[in-house]
């Protein structure tokens, strides 16, 4: 599914809208995991608006593609994505993180429509994804399972148990991503617990690894197309190098913005920054699109 310029522009527009909605939600909630929410957002935008076979009118359609946000703390942008898509009322975002809301910072699959797995405790998502992928194979269904891990999350040993099983069972109906924003709560990933050589680790486990700019819609689409066309029996891991807080320049690439609050001033500056970032991204499309 090669990306046309028109599609690229539409996806940029959608990513911008979802970034705005993520910022709005953070502002309404007072605070949220906005850093990692924005770094992963282009991945979710591309999946939900170009690739995933889902039905908004039938959220539990058994043949739907599955999406598992293993880095469940990015719930703020996941919530924005699901509400914008129509699975839940956008008004629900105004209750995000608030007492009594069915939408907490880590989304509950039994409360929020469209969520395929309740995550939050890290290192769980890929195992669940392997399970749904194996189930699809056993049931003769051709849906795909997409799973997104955080890079800091990869410190958890359970991910590597899951990785080993994905390769052992030749799980090619699962497409995996790591949102490699290089930040975690206490610092840079390489300072807290060195992950490198990161791609080589996944390759050593038996994955085909595509390393890309995960905030570049075109590169994301090319990597996902590559995964769709994979004819080997190895699973594909897309290591998406991203910027924490992508789109809001004054929080970008700053691990201190793992979780943060937006007051009125920051909110206004954030909106302006997102608009400027969007214009730059549009200019890039104009320049790079064939």
């Amino acid at each position: 599914m090669p990306l046309t310029k028109q599609e690229w522009l539409q996806l940029e527009k959608k990513a911008h809208e979802l970034r705005r909605l993520t910022l709005d939600t953070t502002y309404w909630a007072g605070s949220a995991h906005i850093g990692g929410g924005l770094s992963v957002l282009d991945i979710m935008t591309v999946l939900y608006h170009k690739y995933m076979n889902i039905k908004v009118e039938d959220p539990k359609w058994e043949d739907r593609d599955r999406f598992i946000l293993s880095k469940g703390h990015a719930g703020v942008s996941y919530a924005a994505t699901l509400c914008d898509y129509g699975f839940n009322d956008v008004e629900l975002l105004k209750t995000f993180n608030l007492s009594g809301s069915k939408m907490g910072m880590h989304l509950d699959s039994n409360k929020v429509v469209g969520v395929d797995a309740s995550t939050g405790s890290l290192g769980h998502g890929m195992s669940i994804a392997v399970g749904t992928a194996l189930a699809a194979r056993l049931q003769g269904k051709d849906y795909k399972t997409f799973v997104v891990l955080g890079d800091g999350e990869c410190d958890e040993g359970s991910n590597w148990e899951a990785a080993m099983s994905a390769v052992h069972y030749k799980i090619t109906n699962m497409i995996s991503f790591v949102d490699r924003n290089k930040c975690m709560i206490d610092g840079r990933t390489e300072d807290v617990m060195n992950l490198e050589p990161f791609c080589a680790k996944w390759e050593a486990f038996g994955f085909i690894v595509k390393e890309i700019d995960g905030n570049n819609i075109k590169e994301l689409c090319e990597a996902i197309d590559f995964a769709y066309e994979n004819k080997t029996d190895k699973p594909v891991m897309i290591v998406a190098n991203t910027l924490k807080g992508c789109g809001i320049d004054f929080i970008e690439d700053d691990y201190l913005w793992h979780y943060g609050a937006f007051d009125d001033d920051k909110y206004e500056r954030g909106k302006k920054a997102l608009d400027e970032s969007y214009q730059k991204r549009i200019a890039r499309v104009e320049k790079e699109a064939e």
Partner: protein
């Protein structure tokens, strides 16, 4: 309950409890194509090899990786399969506790954990392989039904009932052979309903797992030697616990002893005590189990004897509790 074969005492003397589970799983597998079996390098130990032989495509051995075992099972359950996953109780309840809680219980998926080698039944392996905290851990996980069958026949019933009941289950069974309590599987097993295996009015022993057989032996002996009528309840379901049977025991016998192959903190005894205290009715009460220490190494029966959770230990405890003072009048209102 699934209309399967009837298991008898003959089966459970010739088959270990886990082997009966293995056969029950094959029976479920034949009837229900959505049933799958998973383990973590313990297919032989947990006796699910028969399922593997008959349904190789529906059997998954994830290697020595309990966390992945639980996560994969949760994913399968969310996709419509009914996974039965088996590993040792200690690892099911502790190594994979986060996955059990988050992936199975929080998501409320239809997955059944058959946790083997429970309590001190793998006695010679030592404390790394004893599960003395699993009831405490699992019964505090919302949505989870927790069952500790008394023998092989009851294990069969529990496994069949678990299939019939949506939601996550934790069924803890022993390594090796259990003493036979039930002659056949047709005794009306119901989740959440204790079985009165011996009727009595002097004292009630509430037991689970392998301790139920020991309690019945103690009750038989005490009737002959001391003339005591001891009620024995097989409290196979630890959660949801049979509150009605417990309160009735308080009212009818005013003396309760709980017996379990588990730490006395947090397991069956604690569950029963909670009900007794909340009932507002007083009674003499004693918990038998592992007294908040790591259990010794040895044969299961030797460990049970040392811990006082075999028939001899129960007899001694009954005699002690029979001496306990409590209010003798029949007026319960003044105690509320």
């Amino acid at each position: 309950m699934a209309g399967g074969m009837t298991y008898t005492a003959v089966d459970s003397t010739s088959l270990s409890t886990a082997e009966i589970y293995g056969k029950a799983l094959v029976e479920l597998g034949r009837a229900h194509p959505e049933v799958v079996a998973l383990t973590a390098d313990l297919a032989k130990s947990t006796k699910i090899g028969e399922f593997q032989k008959e349904f190789p495509d529906r059997f998954f051995n994830v290697g020595i990786a309990e966390q992945n075992l639980f996560g994969v099972s949760a994913g399968m359950a969310r996709a419509g399969l009914v996974p039965f996953l088996s590993c040792f109780s200690q690892f099911a309840s502790l190594r994979a506790a986060d996955q059990l809680s988050t992936d199975l219980c929080y998501q409320n998926v239809n997955a059944k954990v058959i946790a083997t080698h429970s309590g001190t039944s793998f006695g010679q392996a030592g404390s790394t392989h004893h599960a003395i905290t699993d009831l405490a851990v699992t019964r505090s996980m919302p949505n989870l039904t927790v069952i500790c069958p008394a023998d092989g026949v009851e294990t069969y019933n529990a496994v069949m009932a678990a299939y019939e009941t949506p939601g996550p289950f934790y069924i803890r069974i022993n390594r090796g052979f259990d003493r036979v309590l039930y002659k056949d599987s047709d005794y009306g097993f119901q989740i959440g309903k204790a079985v009165t295996v011996n009727e009595g009015t002097d004292l009630t022993i509430i037991a689970c797992g392998s301790c139920v057989f020991q309690a019945v032996q103690a009750a038989d002996f005490l009737e002959k030697s001391d003339g005591l009528k001891i009620r024995v309840l097989d409290m196979h379901t630890i959660k949801p616990i049979d509150r009605e049977a417990i309160v009735k025991a308080v009212m009818d016998t005013r003396r309760i002893i709980t017996v379990e192959d588990h730490n006395v903190l947090g397991g069956l005894g604690s569950a029963v005590a909670e009900v007794v205290v909340e009932s507002g009715k007083g009674c003499a009460f004693k918990k038998l189990g592992i007294p908040d220490k790591f259990a010794p190494i040895g044969l299961h029966e030797d460990i049970m004897a040392e811990l006082g959770i075999d028939a001899n230990g129960i007899i001694a405890a009954v005699r002690e509790v029979m001496k306990a003072d409590f209010e003798l009048d029949d007026d319960w209102d003044d105690e509320v």
